[in-house]
Symmetry: C2
Subunit: 319 residues, 2 copies
DNA sequence: GCCTGGCGATACTTTGCAGGTATGAAAGGG
DNA sequence: CCCTTTCATACCTGCAAAGTATCGCCAGGC
């Protein structure tokens, strides 16, 4: 049975007349008679009563037509849904991100994306950079925002572009001795309990801190390890010690705390956006477009990485 | 788009390999490639990613395949449903019947029918014979059980067979003077208030009573008209008068009442089953089969009426 | 590095069937 | 009783689906 048979049967039922139904279908009457006859033979039951007063569906015909209508609806919906998915209007985007990214670039990007693509399901997974990288390589994520570019087995199949620079700053309670200072030195830091958000899953940050503090591993090893920047700020506000985190923290001012620069100024690993280089998903491409529009320099970096293979070509029509 | 395209796309997705999918479909590989290419061109989007590791649906492909699966399911369901409807396993039977038919033939017939055809929706409409007849002619009923064969415009297109004979009996309260009698005479009836269930919608019964009681129209005109036999019995039990009704009433014995024959014995119009002679609905034919099996003489009458045009031929396969 | 094998795409041929034209058969209506 | 209407049948044509042969491409192995 072919879709043609369904269309013909529905037209015949709608017009109640072979000649008019055939005309509406743009074919002659005999082919319609034959197709209906073929259909009835295949079904093994008469679907239409041919009377002088017109052609009417039998009970079997009514049952058939109800299903036929739904089948054709599904078929047109298949085309529509596929088109929407191809244009990235529907689908899913699994994003892994480091918590601090929620401070600066993500709110804008996710807001725009949600507004532009309301029917795309955004799956947001806050995780450390190392876990994002492995999940991305394993195909469990579509995009990742990490501190520093992903490393390790499989990372060569990822495209990574920096989407934000950062340097280290300190945060202390307003009551802290350093609270009035514009900046704190490395020596001052060594003399205080530290609060950092750098475990084994954030190798780039850990390495940066180690370089800054020199061989004095004691200061770092004794530091309180927080899971994210909000915890750093919270602990610092309690006076537990000096919090060390990305300058992105400045975007969340809060009473009872003070921020200080760290001298010497210490660059942190870039905030990096990564995705599989084979991934031509239109949803991903829409996401990248938004990231591109959000910060022009990122767009340039993206274009450099992707060369002339524009993401999104996969849904282009043939000439 | 044709159903073929859906089947091919699903096979390709299932096998992840053009060659094997084509083999499973019983065609060669190039036609499959072409059909998939045609489909993708029609949709305007690539549905499958051809990689070294295999052929995988894109996001658009996944959306398409989900709908395609449902469309094909609807199509097979269309065949199945049509077949069941053609065999009379599903559908609807609208039956109009006179209330007294519920005393004798209907309980058996409806019980069997419900057991044999559990998926047929039985629509039961208790109504007077006249209304049944007009509803049947208007196509609002499929079968009718009436007192006497339907008459009037359009009745010639109905097939009617008697399914039960009846004669008039009387019913009185146990306290009634006639209660001890085996039978009551016409003279005795004329001397008592009567209770009958014969209005203008039951012309055959009214005519029968008028013949019995002769020119003394007063007895009949003054009679209480009940809507059904149960009301006749109820009123008679209250001592309101002498109830006159079909002998079928005997099948509902009840304390506090007595039944008496009426002399002379007076035949009532036959209980008649009617349906449109053009109606070849398999559900109707199944219903008639049950009626036929329930009482052999009815079967013979049915066969005589229908001649060699067996009901149910409409769903026979061509040779 | 080159060969080889596997896979999908392409080119060309064949064929089956959808669709067109002409006509027949049956049943109402004037 | 003929004529019209309507669906079915017969036969022909052309397109497109399927088949055959081959190409191009990439990967993996010697």
């Amino acid at each position: 049975m072919e879709a043609r048979h369904l269309r013909y049967a529905l037209a015949l039922a709608a017009h109640g007349h072979f000649g008019r139904a055939a005309h509406a279908l743009g074919i002659a009457q005999p082919p319609l008679s034959k197709q209906i006859a073929d259909l009835e033979r295949e079904i093994g039951a008469r679907l239409f009563d041919r009377t002088r007063q017109g052609v009417f569906p039998t009970a079997a015909g009514e049952a058939f037509l109800a299903r036929a209508r739904r089948a054709l609806e599904e078929m047109t919906a298949a085309t529509v849904d596929a088109g929407r998915a191809a244009r990235g209007e529907t689908g899913r985007l699994r994003l892994g991100f480091i918590a601090s990214a929620l401070l600066d670039p993500l709110p804008d990007v996710l807001g725009r994306f949600g507004r532009e693509r309301p029917d795309v399901r955004l799956e947001l997974h806050e995780m450390a950079s190392g876990r994002s990288a492995t999940a991305l390589i394993a195909g469990e994520l579509d995009v990742a925002v990490t501190l520093g570019p992903p490393r390790g087995a499989g990372a060569e199949h990822l495209v990574s572009v920096p989407i934000g620079h950062d340097h280290l700053i300190a945060v202390v309670s307003s009551a802290h001795p350093y609270a009035g200072q514009a900046s704190v030195s490395v020596d001052q830091l060594r003399r205080q309990p530290l609060i950092v958000a750098a475990g084994e899953d954030e190798p780039a940050v850990t390495a940066g801190l180690r370089t800054l503090l020199g061989e004095d591993t004691a200061a770092l090893d004794g530091a309180t390890v927080a899971r994210d920047v909000h915890t750093i700020i919270g602990l610092a506000a309690c006076g537990v010690g000096v919090g060390l985190g990305p300058s992105r923290m400045l975007s969340v001012p809060r009473p009872g705390i003070r921020f200080c620069e760290v001298t010497p100024r210490t660059a942190l690993p870039d905030l990096v956006l990564s995705f599989a280089d084979r991934d031509r998903s239109p949803v991903l491409s829409a996401f990248l477009d938004i990231v591109r529009n959000n910060c022009p320099d990122v767009g340039a970096a993206l274009d450099r990485r992707l060369g002339h293979t524009r993401v999104g070509d996969s849904c282009a029509k043939q000439p």
